[in-house]
Symmetry: C2
Subunit: 344 residues, 2 copies
DNA sequence: CGGCGACGTCGTAGATGGTGACCATGCGGG
DNA sequence: CCCGCATGGTCACCATCTACGACGTCGCCG
């Protein structure tokens, strides 16, 4: 490893001068700077980020904690965060809690001293633990509202409302929610919104779960659901909704003829399965970017206004998994009907 | 931040003693160590990884470069690498080249000084550039054989052979390969294996591409393919194969009745689309773990034997996207037939 | 019983690579 | 003549590790 000392010696200047030519150009004579730069180039000098980190306590590293890297839900989010981070001159340190609050905690403990700030996507930790971590470093949480801690969330209520409107228009009068992880804030939000808004709309709301927020989780849920055979199901996320669909199809239950299914997130697969999945889409990419930009702003000293969260708009993508209610009695209060959506 | 100096002062010992109690237990009296540990605990002391890194040049960080985080192909690989890394006491620094050799290079430049070793999945850089990087740090490449540089690859030839056998058994006499990125080593391997082994088996081999190794890439490819209407298609990876299938289905081409489609990797989606995708499965998780274990071994001083690569076995998963050839003339040389596989 | 060496324990000091506050020098202008 | 500025050197500091050496104790051997 060639250091500033090597360059300094070769150039006949003091180490600090070499440091300055890179760390604060302009602070050193243009000619000398040029010469030093050339010699550094010849010697193949690269500033050692660790030395810099120790001296300036800037690692140029941002942490991103996800609950499951393999979950396609995070694909675009990570991508968006990546882009924004690179843009801001930061590298992303990715950690995976694998749906466990404990693992999340230990991973965090290793991350925190190394990164300048971080983002926690779908935390499985308690509010207080989270608040505690936030005291140590600038941080932004995703899919969770937490006073005192800046957050980026999707408009769950709006998504649920759109889903309710669609289902009512299709003649449904009851909906079963397939719950994801109990520790997930978004899960609670979605179910409560469904219960409240759905109740207000005269819908009968049921709930099964919790299940793992994966395809397998949805598959398990379908076994329970097969006994009740609801006419409409809303899943915590797309992967689960798809698991439910597969469980139904495997048993000969027709979708959307017998059961309508709606998911959350609009991951790529939702457009690839058959029937294609109706889902509440969130701008994941922007979400990741917004989160990164918010931490960076925080690191630059921006103050977080308590209770304020970035709310990302959602959009209901009506596809092939939802359709007119056909089974059993016809709902007395029938809304305006619409064609069984199979468009994208 | 509480440092060893704070602990040392509180315990009435020299800083070096505190350092030793944590860095090399046993080198300090058991009682003193106990006392220091207790005081450190009380003060909430955590060793600063950056100071440690500077002094020992051990960052406990491993780099993992992928060509696209959003590609589900990497999901299980990343997961496997994660687990193995944690197991070995390392953290994973994930970088994304977004299918660009240039981005890969610059990202690498930022990673290299920080990590102790790294893994490059599906590199888009040249062999020489790669060899150059390998000189700086222990590294393992994935899906690429490179003398002098340890690598972990899947048995592409065996996978292709299995695909060929299946297609011949189903009565096919020509196969079109849908190529992925030109810079992908695996792509070249797969096509060459298909050309050579396929030729030997009396198959007529065509090729279209290159296309992006994504769903969209496969969709584009399908537009070209629709003109030729081959009876059998092998895609560079599952995502492309699924893209091709969708392109075909959208135009009313039936799968597998009119065209058989085979992919590579066996990503989750392959089991979820309809028809389910026949594909060459690789043990991605083990691959990630093996790669990590290999770098770690390398870092510990293990010597790499030139030309030697870890070859992961593959397995052909026959599903619903392949079937008996029906269109046009019947092949003169008909192998042993087998039922149109719709099993898992 | 005295002396010497080995060993266990811990402190001192320097090293890691880079930064930045402070200071010294020299020059030009008012 | 003095002031200010541009420039570059000196040195302390960031948090931790470690080679070396000091010191005391113990045991062994003469």
């Amino acid at each position: 490893m060639v250091t500033i000392y090597d360059v300094a010696e070769a150039a006949g200047v003091a180490p600090s001068t070499v440091s300055r030519t890179f760390a604060r150009p302009g602070r050193v004579n243009a000619d000398t700077a040029e010469r030093i730069r050339r010699i550094a180039e010849e010697l193949g000098y690269r500033a050692n980020p660790i030395g810099q980190a120790l001296a300036t306590s800037q690692t140029k590293l941002l942490g991103l904690m996800v609950s499951d890297v393999a979950n396609p839900f995070y694909s675009q989010l990570i991508r968006g965060a990546q882009l924004a981070a690179t843009e801001a001159g930061y590298e992303l340190l990715l950690a995976d809690s694998r749906e466990s609050g404990t693992r999340e905690r230990t991973a965090l403990e290793r991350l925190v001293p190394v990164v300048e700030g971080f983002i926690i996507g779908s935390s499985r930790m308690s509010d207080s633990a989270l608040r505690n971590v936030a005291k140590q470093r600038p941080m932004v949480v995703l899919n969770r509202a937490l006073s005192d801690v800046p957050s980026v969330v999707t408009d769950n209520a709006a998504g649920i409302q759109a889903a309710i409107d669609l289902l009512r228009d299709l003649g449904h009068d009851s909906v079963t929610y397939v719950a994801g992880p109990e520790a997930s804030w978004a899960d609670g939000m979605r179910f409560r919104a469904l219960r409240d808004l759905g109740g207000r709309a005269g819908l009968n709301i049921q709930k099964v779960g919790p299940y793992l927020p994966t395809f397998e989780g949805g598959l398990s849920a379908s076994r329970t659901l097969l006994e009740k055979l609801p006419t409409a199901v809303i899943g915590y996320n797309d992967l689960m909704a798809i698991g439910v669909m597969h469980g139904f199809l495997r048993e000969g239950v027709q979708i959307p003829e017998q059961v309508s299914v709606i998911g959350f997130d609009d991951i790529l697969i939702s457009r690839l399965v058959l029937p294609t999945l109706t889902t509440v889409a969130a701008p994941m990419r922007q979400m990741g970017a917004t989160a990164v930009n918010n931490v960076v702003a925080l690191m630059k000293g921006a103050k977080h206004r308590t209770g304020e969260a970035s709310v990302m708009p959602v959009q209901l993508k009506v596809r092939g998994s939802t359709g007119q209610r056909r089974r059993k009695r016809v709902s007395p209060a029938l809304g305006t009907t619409m064609v069984s959506g199979s468009a994208s």
